[in-house]
């Protein structure tokens, strides 16, 4: 502990003097009114020794005085060591992406440095090593007082690009003053120029380096897309111990769709883990985020390149293409539909949109514009996948990977001695490598390639006799692949096997993402949304500029091109920080610099405020004691204060959780059937949540009620599901329910067997008269869309629950005494089941006949019901408003 103003402690020597002064000064007299004062007037002479201030009061006051003196001397606990050197202090701060993860502790450490500089009376200059947001190269600020530097430091934010060592070194060399430096390091070399930077830093003067032993920064590398999964890669400075991390896959609205764990082995710099998602979920991914402290390095944005590839399908004979089990496209569609987006149409239609794979099943490409169009598309990166067939065997065209021999070859036919051929295992260099070859796959017929020297190099799959089954050829950026059999089971068993699915998926995986085809165009892509240093998306900074797709692919993040989303909505491209950054490399400690660890020392704590506060508390006690001694502090006042403090506690007794009078809540009648009561509870919970979301009404959790035992008058609505084996209500319960209905309550009776749900709750209709015997149910009429209930919040035409289609019954006659509100609503739509929401927020009961629309309308009916219960015929009265206004006008 040190004192920032130690000379104030000299005042402690004055304490004995204070003691003496307090001791000889008599305490202030108490004030008393006394009628017989005339008798006292002359008696002062009889006085003995005057009353003294009690010793404990003296001690109290001395303690307060001492605390104030010590507090004014500004003691500081855990003060850091002094700063070496003299003259101005240069605070060098790494503010690239790598510093974002522990930005808070860094700023705390920098504040501590400024505290120390302030105590030493030194002036400070600030140098941030990354280019600032306006694109200016790093430069040292002017030398300024600490208070000003503090404001500058507070304005500093981590940048979403790396620090620039070379320019920072240049700035260090330009800094003319000589003093000392404190370097707040992120622990990474951050590209070239580290040595020059370290040298320039040493040249400033004595250096204190504040850094972690191992740089904590982690960099989420762009994931590798594979057919059915994303391979997530995370890089960090290799550490001596095993480590783990988690990456969240998020959709565009920020929800996490998946979480994947990564394990770092000791000394390993990059960890990989596969993220497997169903295609429809994978299509919704927009970013991967490293769980933990926010940082631009922990965010990888995804664009179209990581999405699935559209596949165009074209058959030789369109009329038979889709015939089940024999059509040429039948098997391809079933194999690819779960994994890829399939498109069909004419060739021009298919090629007019971006396409990754074009499948031609026994389709002969006519020479001329058709062939030219396909050829051009392939050369730009398309994957043309062809299947042989009778037509192709007759008319080989120009878009084939190998030259075909005329005609086809039959194996194992009636006129042949040979047996149907099996598949040979796939070669290691083939894209099909690793796929198991089932023995039952036989090839009866195929087209044959003309044997030549290059044929083996173009072959991906062979039959057991060595003839090629799948051949390929590269054309420009794209590729042509030929299956030497048909896409149906005419020529081989291959389309019937699981191998076919796997082979097609490998093929699709080979193709490039659709947006890659645009790289060659010169259209500039403007920044749309860019990340800040913490990886939070925001509007692009003013200096951010547009760049072409080709430039984007090469661009290193910088102030002009911050990482983020670029281009129009239809063809959005991302610029990721990590694309060209590579694995982070640990920087060596700066030679000759004094090393301090970030966060190792406790932050400095100033004790002065606490001491002064303690002194004030003591003085307050002294005040009370003095008042007491002078007779001005009465016990009654103290009692009053205690009473006022106690009032707070008294209010806690009114607990809205247990007292139904304090909050509005729906209620359901306890039937005794645990499952039924559970549905009622879940249903009313779901409905209350909807009402809270969509209306101004605030409903608490629903309450179970037993009529005759609980007071029903607090609940606007009671839901009562009927089951066949429910016991009849007792006399007291019936009386309570009748009283409830007579005084404005609404009972919703649900037989749970209406309309589409007929027969679901057998016997409920028969049970209803037995159970509800004695209830004063008024004459009923069907609920129509003209009824107030149909427009008390939403305008409703029907009133579905889990089921729909049955009639809902309400009171027939208008009862003015009860505000024309129907005291009972009887239906069979099992509304509670439609409203029910389980613990995970899902609806556990499917609607019948089904559809999200039915559930929405069911919720709307529920909201209307609650509004009807809460506002009565208010909406019904509103139709008279124009007439009332007109009358008022007269």
């Amino acid at each position: 502990m040190i004192f920032a103003a130690p000379w104030v402690l000299l005042a402690l020597t004055a304490l004995p003097l204070l003691w003496w002064l307090l001791r000889i000064t008599p305490p202030a007299p108490r004030s008393e009114v006394f009628p017989a004062i005339r008798l006292l007037l002359g008696l002062a002479a009889v006085e003995e020794t005057p009353a003294r201030t009690p010793w404990w009061l003296l001690a109290l006051r001395m303690a307060a005085a001492g605390l104030i003196i010590v507090g004014l001397a500004r003691p500081i606990l855990d003060a850091g060591a002094g700063l070496a050197g003299s003259g101005p202090l240069l605070l060098v701060v790494d503010d690239g992406w790598a510093s974002a993860a522990d930005w808070g502790p860094r700023m705390q450490a920098a504040d501590g440095v400024l505290d120390r500089a302030e105590r030493a009376g030194r002036r400070v200059a600030l140098l941030a090593t990354a280019a600032d947001a306006s694109g200016d190269a790093p430069a040292a600020s002017v030398v300024m007082p600490v208070a000003e530097a503090r404001a500058r430091l507070a304005a500093l934010r981590p940048k979403p690009w790396p620090v620039d060592r070379a320019l920072a070194a240049a700035a260090l060399r330009r800094w003319g003053e000589r003093g000392s430096a404190v370097y707040l390091a992120d622990g990474l070399t951050d590209g070239a120029g580290w040595d020059g930077f370290a040298q320039a830093l040493r040249a400033v003067g004595p250096v204190v380096e504040l850094r972690d032993a191992v740089a904590p920064a982690r960099l989420l590398l762009p994931p590798k897309a594979e057919a059915d999964r994303l391979v997530v890669r995370l890089a960090q400075v290799p550490r001596a111990v095993a480590d783990r991390a988690a990456v969240l896959a998020q959709s565009g609205d920020g929800r996490s769709l998946a979480r994947v764990e990564l394990q770092f082995a000791p000394g390993q710099g990059v960890a990989e883990a596969a993220l497997k998602l169903p295609p429809e979920l994978r299509n919704r991914l927009t970013r991967l985020v490293l769980a933990g402290p926010a940082s631009a390095g922990g965010v990888a944005l995804l664009d179209e390149r990581w999405r699935r590839r559209p596949v165009g399908l074209l058959a030789g004979d369109e009329t038979v293409a889709d015939i089940p089990l024999s059509g040429p496209l039948y098997y391809i569609k079933r194999a690819l539909a779960p994994y890829a987006e399939l498109r069909e149409g004419s060739l021009t239609q298919l090629l007019s949109r971006q396409l990754s794979v074009l499948v031609l099943a026994d389709r002969v490409v006519a020479a001329g514009p058709e062939q030219d169009a396909i050829e051009k598309w392939v050369e730009q990166g398309g994957l043309l996948l062809r299947f042989a067939g009778p037509r192709l065997a007759e008319h080989p065209d120009g878009l084939l990977p190998v030259t075909l021999l005329g005609g086809d070859r039959q194996l194992g036919g009636a006129m042949s001695w040979s047996k149907p051929a099996e598949l040979a295992p796939f070669a290691a260099e083939s894209p099909f490598a690793g796929l198991a070859v089932p023995a039952e796959v036989k090839v009866h017929q195929q087209v044959l390639a003309r044997p030549d020297a290059q044929l083996a190099g173009h072959t991906w799959a062979r039959l057991s006799d060595g003839t090629p089954l799948v051949t390929e050829a590269v054309r420009g950026a794209g590729r042509i692949v030929l299956f030497h059999v048909t896409a149906n089971a005419d020529w081989s068993d291959l389309p019937l096997s699981g191998l076919f699915v796997q082979m097609l998926r490998r093929m699709v995986d080979l193709s490039v993402g659709v947006s890659g085809a645009e790289d060659a165009s010169g259209v500039k892509l403007a920044p749309v949304e860019t990340l800040d240093g913490f990886g939070q998306p925001g509007a692009p900074p003013p200096v951010a500029g547009a760049l072409t797709a080709a430039e984007l692919a090469r661009a290193l993040p910088s102030p002009r091109h911050p990482p983020g989303l670029y281009g129009p909505e239809s063809g959005r491209r991302v610029l990721n920080l990590a694309t060209h950054l590579g694995v982070p490399v640990a920087a060596a400690e700066i030679g000759g610099a004094r090393q301090e660890r970030l966060g190792a020392a406790a932050p400095e704590r100033a004790l002065a405020p606490w001491l002064i506060a303690a002194a004030l508390a003591l003085l307050a006690v002294d005040l009370l004691v003095s008042l007491r001694l002078r007779g001005l502090f009465r016990a009654s006042i103290a009692a009053g204060m205690v009473l006022m403090l106690g009032m707070g506690g008294a209010q806690a007794a009114l607990n809205p959780d247990t007292n139904p009078a304090l909050v509005t809540r729906l209620a359901y009648l306890v039937t005794g059937d645990a499952r039924l009561d559970g549905i009622s509870k879940a249903g009313l919970e779901g409905l209350s949540e909807q009402v809270n979301q969509r209306t101004n009404a605030v409903l608490a959790a629903p309450a179970p009620v037993v009529p005759g035992e609980d007071d029903l008058s607090f609940y606007p609505l009671i839901y009562w599901p009927i089951s066949a084996d429910q016991p009849a209500q007792s006399g007291a319960a019936v009386a309570a329910l009748n009283d409830y209905m007579a005084h404005g309550g609404i009972i919703v009776i649900d037989t749970r067997n209406g309309g589409s749900g007929e027969g679901f709750a057998a016997g409920a209709d028969a049970a209803l008269p037995r159970i509800a015997a004695g209830l004063a149910i008024p004459p009923l009429a069907p609920l129509t869309p003209q009824h107030v209930l149909a427009h008390s919040f939403y305008l409703l035409q029907d009133f579905p629950g889990r089921y729909t289609g049955a009639t809902v019954w309400v009171q027939r006659d208008q009862d003015r005494s009860n505000d024309s509100v129907s005291p009972v609503i009887i239906g069979g739509h099992d509304w509670a089941a439609a409203w029910a929401v389980d613990a995970d927020g899902r609806n556990p009961y499917a609607t019948i006949p089904g559809g999200a629309r039915q559930r929405v309308i069911a919720y709307r009916f529920g909201v209307n019901l609650v509004m009807y219960a809460l506002t009565g015929n208010y909406k019904g009265d509103q139709v008279h408003v124009p007439a009332i206004l007109e009358r008022l006008g007269q």
Binding site: P26, P27, A28, P29, R30, S31, E32, V33, F34, P35, A36, I37, R38, L39, L40, L41, L43, A44, V46, E47, E48, T49, P50, A51, L629
Partner: protein
């Protein structure tokens, strides 16, 4: 108008408990002191006695005498009422109570005064307040009128002898902490009418005992200068001596005028003081 009405209302609100309290106190005393059963001026029959020479013929009760050979005179009970003047000190020093006392001194003084008046009125005496313009009252209703008059009685200074009939009795209730000379003048003026009477000093227990401790600044109630006593414990004995001296002076003044003197503390029950007053006012009854 409203202010007067409000005050009257406040007075009325205070009146019933005071009256009740006074009645209650009086009822307990009534059984101990006997009534005045002797011949005198009055309306009610007392006895017949034989005619003796010298009696006026007009006093012969002819109806009684006709039943025998002798003449009888009809004598009535003596009902010549005594006028008793009552006064209580209403100054600021009386409107004070210490923490040990249950009420202000003036409350106790008024209770005693009205209780005494109740007793006297029930005994048929005439009671009035010693104040300019005070009117004598009698009968049960007189108590309420007296109580009303009492509210209007400021009583900030010692009373004069104005309007007191000769040979009336006077009861002065107050704390009598002022200078003895003023009290002597007052009592002397009354005794010269002549009026005999009784002085009751009502003291708060704090005034009697001076229970304070330590350094205390005392303020008076009637514009006296404040005084600081460094150690109240140290002057307690001296104060007790001063108080005893004051009481001795009061007793001497009373004795010189042939009056009685008594001291009452507000933490003591009022019945004792009332009994003392009653006994002091009715010596003949006791002697009968």
């Amino acid at each position: 108008m409203t202010a007067t009405a409000r005050r009257a209302e406040a007075l009325g609100a205070r009146l019933p408990p005071l009256l009740v309290a006074a009645e209650r106190v009086a009822a307990t005393v009534w059984q101990g002191v006997h009534g005045r059963r002797r011949v005198g001026q009055g309306d009610s029959f007392w006895q017949y006695r034989p005619f003796v020479a010298g009696d006026s013929a007009a006093r012969v009760d002819w109806r009684r005498s006709a039943r025998s050979d002798r003449l009888f005179l009809r004598e009535t009970e003596w009902e010549a009422a005594q006028t008793v003047g009552l006064w209580r000190d209403g100054s600021a020093s009386m409107r004070w109570r210490s923490r040990a006392a249950s009420g202000e001194k003036v409350e106790r003084a008024e209770v005693l005064l009205l209780a005494l008046a109740s007793l006297l009125l029930r005994g048929g005496e005439r009671v009035r307040l010693v104040a300019p313009g005070g009117r004598s009252v009698s009968g049960r209703v007189g108590l309420e009128r007296l109580a009303e008059g009492l509210e209007g009685l400021a009583g900030e200074e010692l009373p004069g002898a104005v309007g007191l009939p000769r040979f009336a009795r006077v009861v002065l209730i107050g704390d009598f902490l002022g200078p003895l000379d003023e009290i002597r003048d007052c009592v002397g003026a009354m005794a010269g009418v002549p009026v005999s009477g009784h002085v009751l000093q009502v003291l708060d227990p704090a005034e009697a005992l001076l229970p304070y401790r330590g350094r205390v600044r005392f303020h008076g109630t009637e514009r006296e200068a404040a005084t600081v006593v460094p150690r109240v414990e140290g002057v307690r004995a001296a104060y007790a001596a001063r108080l005893a001296e004051q009481q001795a002076g009061l007793a001497a003044i009373s004795a010189a005028a042939g009056w009685g003197f008594a001291v009452h503390r507000t933490d003591h029950p009022p019945e004792a003081a009332l009994l003392g007053l009653y006994a002091a006012l009715a010596p003949e009854a006791g002697r009968r």
